[in-house]
Symmetry: C2
Subunit: 123 residues, 2 copies
């Protein structure tokens, strides 16, 4: 009887590739963005901004319920901005933050595995 996990020459079964793995350069870039996001306070700030219509919000409107000092909020927003995930703009007395959607498309596509796992068709 043949073993489905072993090929005729004793090698492992190799399902077809449907998407090329990340290159070294692309992975390094993506890791920087994910490191910036991988903090609970930064995720809450980011999700609060992204959750507003237009992906933009006043800084005064995204800190509700986040119990940290204003200086800590500013630090975390700077990390997200430095990573290219947010932009900021002062208007009148207020600073508005906006998400940069294209900065995260590659990450979203890598992580959205619904299609990849439902369809087994090789490319």
């Amino acid at each position: 009887m043949s073993n489905p996990d072993r090929t005729a020459d004793g090698g492992c079964v190799r399902p077809p590739l449907r998407r090329r793995p990340l290159t070294e350069v692309a992975a390094a870039e993506m890791a920087k963005k994910l490191k910036a996001l991988a903090d609970p306070v930064r995720l809450r700030l980011f999700s609060a901004i992204a959750g507003h219509a237009g992906g933009e919000a006043c800084v005064c409107d995204v800190t509700g319920g986040i119990d940290v000092a204003q200086s800590t909020v500013s630090h975390h927003l700077k990390v997200l901005r430095d990573a290219g995930l947010l932009t900021s703009e002062r208007r009148a007395s207020w600073v508005y933050y906006a998400v940069v959607p294209e900065a995260l498309l590659d990450v979203a596509e890598l992580l959205d595995l619904r299609t990849a796992t439902l369809s087994g068709a090789p490319t």
Copy 2:
């Protein structure tokens, strides 16, 4: 003339919320998963596994082009498995790794901002 960035009472403009911000608990969970992913070698391994049909691959088939020791690969795969992003199974002489798609759906949804920024309709 009215200032579009200032309301009648001098407050900032508040675009409507279309998605609730992450809770403290959800953000802590998501940060753990993102920390596990936020490493160039882990991202390359994860993308190599996810890129195979069925989101599954033999360990021997995902290390091509990644110039690190086998013990380092094993360590990184363990980090991804401990974070709930991969499962592993031994079959015959080979260990197969599979992505856990539901583990990352919430992250993918948070990061996929195409819809959020193209549509300005409040909920």
